[in-house]
Symmetry: C2
Subunit: 294 residues, 2 copies
Amino acid sequence: METKIIDGKKISEEIKLEIANDTKSFQNKFLVKPGLAVVLVGNDPASSVYVRNKEKSAIDSGMRGKTINLPSTVSEQDLLNIIENLNLSNEIHGILVQLPLPSHISQEKIVEKINPIKDVDGLHPFNSGLLSAGTPRFIPATPAGIRELLIRSDFDTDGKHVAILGRSNIVGRPLANLLSMKSNGGNATVSLCHSRTNNLKDITQMADIIVAAIGIPNFVTQEMVKENAVVIDVGINRVESSLHKRGYRLVGDVEFETVKLKCKAITPVPGGVGPMTIAMLLSNTLQAAKLQCA
Amino acid sequence: METKIIDGKKISEEIKLEIANDTKSFQNKFLVKPGLAVVLVGNDPASSVYVRNKEKSAIDSGMRGKTINLPSTVSEQDLLNIIENLNLSNEIHGILVQLPLPSHISQEKIVEKINPIKDVDGLHPFNSGLLSAGTPRFIPATPAGIRELLIRSDFDTDGKHVAILGRSNIVGRPLANLLSMKSNGGNATVSLCHSRTNNLKDITQMADIIVAAIGIPNFVTQEMVKENAVVIDVGINRVESSLHKRGYRLVGDVEFETVKLKCKAITPVPGGVGPMTIAMLLSNTLQAAKLQCA
């Protein structure tokens, strides 16, 4: 049987269309336009691109999209005040502060300042806690996107063994809580692996689903994967390449060409998990607007 | 080599002594007596015993211990008001509402009403979220007690594979987050297993440490355990017994007599994890007092 290449771009477009329709109905009913504010501190080129895409996608879905560009010298207190204003704004239902922040600003303080009901990034401890308790409100975009990819590709997680590689607070850990919770799209047995794991290959070789989120190019190789496993690649690594005009190419955490030959399904990089994140952010923003207008 | 029987009673007594000393120093320095309030709704006999023990242990450690007994007919609003008063009290640093609550009261609302800085049970979403983010403040008593048992018995978890059986919000899930976090006493590879797990034996047979918290008597049998594993038994199950005057005996989730022959160390039931929980509650209460006086 041919390996299925999970098309995250296509799936995310479908979701964005659903969200646009849902946004229209919501707006007709409540006369409120869902609003997303994205705060960018500094002018890192990659972050700027991400932020522009988020604003544009919000607008394309019929929402209000607002980017707040701040110099990298902005004080912590000024940033806290800006968030407070967004917390109070009736036009803004979702707030996202693009991370990382300059080192003179406490990321923790900033994230905790966002009103949890507007925390569409799902990183406020209150929202992480709801997720960890199995009653999530806003699920961080990448884990939410991965679950959605699995559901919409008809890969049931119930009772399945999932090996997650990487325990970050934005991917691995919330995903572990998400996939193991009592629910549809959950009920998996999750092994959360990381840099300290001793017997990694023993675990991945048992897994029905592998999620690689460690940021090491081509880390997951063919012999680590069970025949007919489903492989989700969260990595986006730049590898030098003289063949590409920009001087690098993007590769995932999975050795795609060889692993593809052994597994049942796999996400490509780019075009797999990546495109899902904005769709999930928009979904959270619409949900935030609903919660705030209910 | 002989199997080590991990003596939770002895370890918990050591910890309580440390806490009593620490409480004395704290009180001398800040002229504040740490205070724990335990709220009990209804008169379930088992819950009444637990609550009395908590109050007594607090007092024995030099703290203020206060039990608030409420009839099972108390309204949700009255309970919320009582918690609000405890939130405002200068004499109370830790608040614990004994669960479960009668069905006319929302457990979620009550837990979320407790000021997170006084939530010594660690069940408020904000505190679960801090734990899940790897920056815990109040760790729920049972997971905290299990980690402490492992640390004080010199069983290093770093890089080890831990199979946790049971994904409850008071044991399995917070323990998974705790043991896998980047820290001393953490850094384990955790597989969180539960009733839906397909390949349970495959996972437990690989595990260096097994934690059984599923509430099924004698569920973990010898063939599920790897030679020289460490086995932590969280279960406290009543099994009918005509040999005991009270008509039952307590057994854990592990078939103690047979598993003992194969593993390196094991906790007994009773006398293993159980006695640790009150010690951890007192530790959280002292820490809460410190945070509130700092």
